[in-house]
């Protein structure tokens, strides 16, 4: 009886390919939409988290000025001294490492390739604090720092722009007025939202001060990178650093801080919850599209209900039982819905893979949302395919036949 229902159902589907196609269309668009939106939303969340963690999980950044991002407030505010960095490292127990940073935009030239790059003068601790990993060559050492050696480590973007396919290690790079040897290449961190982190040239602070920009004042450190020891509460650390810096900058009780501390962990949490909210929003949009798809399926089914009611009447008249007719309709609805669901999953896979590349977010196949979307889309299809048939199969055969 079940086999019979399959034979009859598949015959009926093959005779009505247009109706079958429209039904499947409604289901797979709905399923594909919800899977794609949720998968890409989660990819974006992951991308933001990865970006933040590549900055360093326990990274605090001390900058001049009253607040994060308000450039006006930092105008005229004194920068930091190298001594500030040393004092923070020595006096505060929770600090794992500290590195003074001086940034400058300088023209950089290798052979006929030239561009303006952001150049960072710092100490060897900077690599550890900012989670930079070496791809090739070596990092500069304390000895390089003491001697002010003209050596530098470059990011992947600088390599691509200036060296192309050439091996940069050992090559000479002109930075501003001085020539510098490239000793190391960093592993790319990628870019998403936070700007291109790989567009960087890192060299000993002493080399930058002596050879390229000159030591203009003792207050020439534009920021101080600090990493916390594992398990240290960053809020407590911020309080301690603030106290030390207020003292060192001679701030009176009634004066506001003329520096700020940027905590990547807080930013990571904020951004993480924001992107989660976005994912929810996308899922809601996708849910609506699934609903629209469901209404599409319902329309197809209702349009064909007159014809199908007659079909049911004919089948009942020639001796089918109501149960056999319902089984046939159930098999039809389940078949079309499953085909729609599978096509939807395949389509979503293709869309996710393509779009993830396009908007540069990681693509992780999410089994859960695929199952949910499949089940939901299939349920809509089965419900709307089966319900009208149930009504018709309860009629007396003659009433079903009279349905015009």
């Amino acid at each position: 009886m079940i086999w019979n229902a399959f034979v009859i159902a598949l015959r009926e589907i093959s005779r009505n390919m247009t109706r079958a196609f429209l039904t499947v269309l409604g289901i797979f668009i709905g399923a594909a939409a919800i899977i794609t939106m949720v998968t890409l939303g989660q990819g974006a969340t992951l991308a933001v988290k990865a970006q933040i963690s590549s900055l360093g999980n326990n990274l605090l950044t001390l900058r001049p000025g009253a607040g994060f991002g308000s450039r006006g407030a930092s105008a005229g505010v004194p920068h930091f001294t190298e001594k500030d960095a040393v004092v923070i490292g020595e006096q505060i127990a929770g600090v794992a490492a500290v590195a003074p940073v001086r940034n400058a935009s300088l023209s950089t030239i290798h052979l006929q390739n030239a561009r303006v790059s952001v150049v960072t003068g710092t100490t060897p601790a900077y690599f550890e604090i900012n989670k930079w990993k070496l791809a090739e060559g070596r990092l500069f050492t304390s000895a390089d720092l003491r001697s002010g050696a003209a050596v530098c480590v470059i990011g992947n973007t600088v390599r691509k722009e200036l060296f192309g396919s050439e091996n940069p290690i050992g090559a000479k790079l002109r930075i501003g007025k001085a020539s510098c040897e490239v000793i190391g290449l960093l592993v790319a961190k990628g870019q998403a939202g936070m700007g291109d982190q790989d567009d960087t040239i890192i060299l000993p602070l002493s080399a930058l001060q002596r050879r390229m920009v000159g030591k203009t004042s003792s207050h020439d450190i534009s920021q101080i990178s600090i990493s916390a020891k594992d398990g240290v509460d960053s809020n407590a650390l911020i309080t301690e650093i603030t106290a030390v810096m207020r003292q060192r900058r001679n701030l009176q009780r009634n004066e506001d801080n003329n520096f700020n501390i940027f905590d990547t962990r807080q930013i990571a949490e904020t951004l993480g919850s924001t992107t989660q909210l976005m994912t929810l929003l996308l899922a809601a949009v996708a849910g609506v599209s699934l609903l629209v798809g469901g209404i599409g399926i319902m329309n197809i089914m209702l349009v064909s209900v007159t014809e199908r009611t007659r079909e049911i009447g004919i089948r009942l008249a020639i001796g089918a039982t109501a149960r056999e007719v319902l089984l046939q309709f159930l098999v039809e609805a389940v078949t079309l819905s499953c085909v729609g669901g599978v096509v939807g999953i395949l389509l979503a896979f293709g869309l996710c893979a393509g779009l993830a590349r396009l908007i540069q977010v990681p693509f992780n196949f999410n089994l859960q949302i695929n199952v949910v979307a499949f089940v939901f889309a299939a349920a809509v299809g089965v419900l709307f395919g089966y319900a009208p048939a149930r009504r018709a199969a309860r009629l007396n055969p003659i009433d079903a036949l009279r349905n015009e």
């Binding site: 009859i8 015959r11 005779r15 009505n16 014809e307 001796g319 089918a320 003659i398």
Partner: protein, 238 residues
């Protein structure tokens, strides 16, 4: 099912059928007593609204009587469940309708095979029987045509092939020629007459057409839900 000659094929006693309830109720059949023997060819006649189609539908188990008894080969049909009535139709009854009622977009062969599919007949046997039935109604060249590609007369012959492919004991035809011209009407009625005579199928035809009725050997006239006359004619056919 008994083949004992003492049990009539169809036996109705005080059969009524009422549509609607309360003040809106309409009694289409007001108490029909009727006996039909095997191998009869009966025409049920009457004006529109006389109740003749209702009677046919109840006889064909497509509709249920409100009261009275209906015995088919001794079986009390009014007591059967919906599924049991389906099985009775499947194994004993065949139908031909005024509007043909073939499945659209479906070939003649598939339409004729359909009742066999519900009987669980094997694929090979289905095909053989369907081909034989279509050949016997004169459509050996239209096996793969869909209803839309066939004329009215051809569609009705496919419907007859579908009705007889299961070798039913009774064939019910409700205004089988209502949508056909006079020439095709003659063809279809000759076909029914031949099935009755050669295969011994009991044929019940509902019609309002006197000419169609002349093919039958017995004419039952219904008026206002009651039998007005019941006449046997010695010679069937025009």
């Amino acid at each position: 099912m008994s083949d004992s000659p003492t049990v009539p094929l169809i036996e109705l006693n005080g059969l009524t059928k009422t549509y609607g309830i309360g003040d809106a109720a309409f009694q289409a059949l007001k108490g029909i007593d009727l006996t039909i023997q095997r191998r009869e060819f009966v025409a049920i006649m009457g004006a529109s609204g006389s109740g003749k189609s209702t009677l046919m539908n109840v006889l064909g188990c497509l509709d249920t009587p409100t009261a009275g008894t209906y015995r088919y080969e001794g079986i009390a049909v009014q007591d059967l469940s919906t599924d049991e009535r389906s099985l009775l139709r499947r194994y004993a009854l065949g139908f031909v309708f005024q509007g043909f009622n073939l499945l659209p977009r479906t070939t003649s062969l598939d339409n004729v095979e359909l009742p066999l599919l519900y009987r669980g007949v094997s694929r090979k046997e289905r095909r053989e029987k369907a081909v034989a039935a279509l050949t016997s109604v004169g459509l050996p060249t239209k096996m793969d045509s869909t209803p839309a590609e066939l004329s009215g007369g051809q569609q009705q012959r496919v419907a007859i092939a579908r009705a007889i492919v299961t070798e039913p004991s009774t064939l019910f035809a409700d205004e089988p020629t209502g949508n056909l011209d006079s020439v095709t009407t003659g063809d279809v009625m000759e076909l029914l007459k031949r099935l009755n005579e050669e295969r011994g199928i009991t044929v019940l035809v509902v019609t309002h057409d006197d000419h169609v009725a002349t093919y039958a050997r017995r004419i039952v006239v219904i008026k206002d839900g009651l039998i007005e006359s019941d006449v046997s004619q010695s010679q069937g056919g025009a």
